[in-house]
Point group: C2
Chain length 125, copies 2
């Protein structure tokens, strides 16, 4: 269902995922911290996102407040799946292996993963 979200659009979504609803100017302000996009640009991106059905807006006086429809977790899941399918035949282990190889996993990462695995094993039985 959900159409492609582009890089620029993702940045906007990420702001909305962190806090919503927000007016276009608020989104632009947050984005200004790490981009140099004009308010116009941000508004265009918001329009495209609403066209794509992943952001909704409601009137608030003479402006709109925007909020995500697509949840971050859903987006994360589909993006992760796509990557796993494309590159690793859908398997998780080689994916983690690549992450580990490139940057190493912290002790905490390993602990989290172990806990996760334990839980998965319990569920699987």
């Amino acid at each position: 269902m959900s159409e492609q979200i582009t890089r620029a659009e993702f940045e906007v979504m990420d702001v909305l995922w962190a806090e919503s609803p927000l007016a276009a100017s608020d989104v632009a302000e947050k984005l200004a911290e790490h981009t140099s996009w004009s308010l116009k640009t941000v508004k265009t991106l918001l329009s495209r996102l609403t066209e794509k059905g992943v952001v909704a807006y409601e009137p608030d006086g003479r402006r709109y407040l925007y909020r995500p429809i697509l949840a971050r977790a859903d987006y994360a899941q589909s993006a992760t799946s796509r990557l796993a399918d494309q590159l690793f035949g859908g398997r998780a282990a080689p994916l983690v292996a690549h992450l580990a190889e490139q940057r190493g996993l912290s002790r905490d990462d390993i602990k989290d993963l172990e806990a996760l695995l334990k839980e998965l094993k319990r569920d699987g039985e």
Copy 2:
């Protein structure tokens, strides 16, 4: 360094990663198994990939043989990292959690991951 590889370009790379060097017609033939791209399309994609510096070619009679310069593992690593950074703050565990939640992990996946973790722990000490 490596520029963006698009979806269509990735399909071409995937063929070359599986077997190389190949002539354009061979690549097109393999791709025909799951796409309906014309030979022309495939050639355009190969040209763009060589422009991007991720594919090299050598003359072979009156045609070229293409081979990947960018290794599959390198691409996989950078794509995986990008995803992890974008969506999971660079952490592996939540990434795996998402994969697991959506599709479950097979017993083999879990075994592989456990082995990988054991190894990582050993290395870390």
